[in-house]
């Protein structure tokens, strides 16, 4: 199977898949814990379809306290998963947010019970295009109903109810996770004590949709996509998915960070080859990112989830006025917000976070807002940003006091 060529030997991984898949996960993949939700009553979707008796794969960390008041739901981003901390069985690597979550970390597993579920439409065990359609017992492919951010949150709400939690202490997430946070706080204000949207937006902009479309077109232009039926035909549109990831990855970084990291440096060569190999380090890096991504992600899931982000427009759900999303029975939302943006994020820039803040102010909601100064772009929320972690820790601590939960110990990790 043709892959995007990586010339840096260190980056090259020979993991070509030759056996046909019937799902996008390895046969021996351990889904546990995985629940089947909406077994007695189907869950309606925004598109008009409904899902019943569908799987949701999730992980929990820490201990739920006696009155079930210390639960934090972490909402993962587009290409994230439920393996927030600990070894990810798909990649063999540590979790994606080890830096912020764990004992003594800002999201402290010594004090909080952390829940993270694979989103609806995902490819890590929750219902999505690579899971079998009960009607045919074959992967859904593009017959899976188109889902929205609100649908993802509905499924998470069912999970939380199943766990017997009536109010989450906090819902936290970055990027698409931040969209879910906003949706949670807006739709279920009584079930959320505090909300932390990081590097988030109340809608996808034209530019965001445009980048999403480039990614989708790259996937669909790959002959191995097979009209979405590649799993049944034993193929994978790896080239298309890798290009989609490469384009998207550029949007997660800043120009400054790219320049600092790579500049115009050449990749293992003294001069230009006057060809189309990866002469530049930045090319090699992007190729590596693209190829590493196809090892762990399903192309149809990528289509569905980027589409869900495109459809997200919180103001539209409330008569075109974003502030109305934060009214609860005519009163300001009781949810305490901490909106955090990153100065070099041009995908979901500070201006859109400020728009969320202005709308929260317009209903006199309880909101904190910080722009973290960094040159690391949109992905900064995942990285070692001490300012972010101090703010996160301080905000959660203040909320814990109001909620009657223990404060943090001195000496933040």
């Amino acid at each position: 199977m043709a892959r995007i060529e990586v010339q840096h030997r260190q980056f090259f991984m020979s993991t070509e898949q030759t056996t046909p898949d019937t799902t996008c996960l390895p046969a021996d993949f351990d889904h546990r814990p995985r629940l089947r939700l909406a077994s007695s009553r189907p869950m309606p979707l925004d598109c008009g379809a409904q899902l019943s008796d569908f799987p949701v794969a999730y992980r929990t960390f820490g201990q739920l306290n006696a009155d079930k008041s210390n639960a934090i739901l972490i909402c993962h981003a587009l290409t994230g998963d439920q393996y927030v901390i600990g070894r990810n069985p798909m990649t063999g690597k540590p979790g994606w947010w080890e830096i912020a979550v764990g004992p003594g970390r800002p999201i402290d597993t010594d004090r909080f019970y952390i829940i993270c579920a694979n989103v609806l439409g995902g490819c890590m065990g929750t219902a999505g295009p690579c899971e079998p359609d009960p009607a045919t017992n074959q992967p859904y492919g593009v017959n899976f109903p188109v889902i929205t951010i609100a649908d993802m949150v509905r499924a998470q709400k069912l999970l939380i109810e199943h766990l017997g939690i009536s109010q989450l202490f906090a819902v936290i997430g970055g990027s698409m996770g931040g969209m879910q946070v906003l949706e949670w706080a807006s739709t279920y204000p009584d079930s959320v004590f505090a909300a932390v949207p990081l590097a988030a937006a109340p809608r996808h902009s034209a530019q965001n949709i445009a980048f999403g479309e480039v990614g989708r077109q790259a996937i669909m232009a790959d002959p191995d996509w097979c009209g979405g039926d590649y799993l049944r035909q034993g193929k994978r549109p790896e080239r298309g998915l890798a290009v989609a990831r490469m384009a998207a990855h550029i949007t997660y970084l800043s120009e400054t960070a790219l320049q600092r990291k790579f500049g115009r440096n050449l990749q293992d060569r003294a001069g230009f080859t006057y060809g189309f190999g990866a002469d530049f380090q930045v090319e090699s890096y992007l190729r590596y990112q693209g190829n590493a991504f196809v090892e762990r992600f399903d192309a149809n899931s990528y289509l569905y989830i980027t589409r869900a982000m495109d459809y997200f427009d919180l103001a539209r759900e409330h008569g075109g006025v974003l502030a109305r999303a934060f009214l609860h029975g005519g009163r300001p939302t009781p949810v305490r917000f901490c909106v955090i943006s990153f100065s070099s994020d041009w995908l979901f820039p500070t201006a859109v976070s400020r728009e969320i803040v202005h709308s929260l102010n317009a209903v006199a909601a309880n909101v904190s807002f910080v722009e973290v100064t960094t040159d690391k772009g949109h992905d900064a929320f995942l990285l070692d940003e001490p300012e972010l972690h101090q703010v996160l820790s301080g905000f959660l601590d203040g909320c814990a006091t109001h909620r009657g939960l223990p404060r943090r110990r001195r000496g933040l990790k």
Binding site: V339, H358, N366, V367, D397, R407, R410
Partner: protein, 220 residues
């Protein structure tokens, strides 16, 4: 300012009520005007000293707006609800009568449009609490009269060319604006240069001895 929970021993969770450090006398005068348990917006809350004091000792539902991101981060790190924003432009977002008190401490004179800000404060809050440096203090008058120079005092420490205080006024001037806008002054506290309370109420003598004044205002 220091926050007591920074000194919590490392070996146990701290859920004791936190003792509060004493706050500056002028901030204490403002705090005295705020009823316990009320909803408070502190505009230009700086490092959050007053807001923290009000939240912890008076149980207010307190929020802050601060222009400097360092101030905002310090506040949020210590559990206060503060946003980064500019009072000159961001007050318009807030709905009318959303707060019982809106506080503007030592900031009105730095606003581009102090008259509009004052009106907005009393639209958002049922009360406004405003503290101001008094340009009518006798030392300022003496310096201008005998030295012919813009006065520099402890409270107004900038040179004329770098001062953020672009709309300085005397207590008499401010009281005049309140009358013109139909604002009721419910209380005035006069503070001397050592931040000592020298009395309540306003007269010509107060305008001479006050380095700053704190006003409790109400609409109509």
């Amino acid at each position: 300012m220091s926050f007591p929970n920074d000194d919590t021993p490392a070996d146990h969770h701290d859920d004791r009520p936190t003792p509060q450090p004493p706050i500056r006398a002028d901030l204490a005068s403002i705090a005295d005007m705020v009823a316990p348990g009320s909803r408070v917006l502190d505009v230009g809350c700086g490092d959050g000293a007053l807001l923290a004091h009000l939240v912890h000792t008076k149980g207010v539902d307190g929020r802050g707006i601060e222009l400097s991101m360092d101030g905002v981060k310090f506040c949020v790190n210590h559990g206060l609800s503060v946003i980064q924003g500019d009072a000159d432009t961001d007050l318009k977002d807030y709905p009318s009568s959303a707060f019982d008190y809106v506080i503007l401490s030592q900031t009105l004179q730095a606003m581009r449009k102090p008259r509009e800000v004052l009106l907005d404060l009393l639209r958002i809050g049922k009360h406004a609490v405003i503290s101001l440096p008094n340009f009518g203090h006798w030392r300022i008058r003496v310096r201008l009269l005998f030295m012919g120079q813009m006065p520099i005092t402890q409270r107004l420490g900038h040179q004329w060319w770098n001062t953020p205080n672009i709309h300085l006024c005397t207590i008499t001037d401010f009281v005049g604006l309140c009358h013109e806008l139909g604002i009721t002054i419910e209380d005035t506290v006069i503070l001397d240069r050592f931040d000592r309370v020298r009395g309540h109420g306003f007269d010509g003598f107060a305008n001479l001895i006050a380095e700053q004044a704190v006003f409790l205002l109400r609409r109509g």
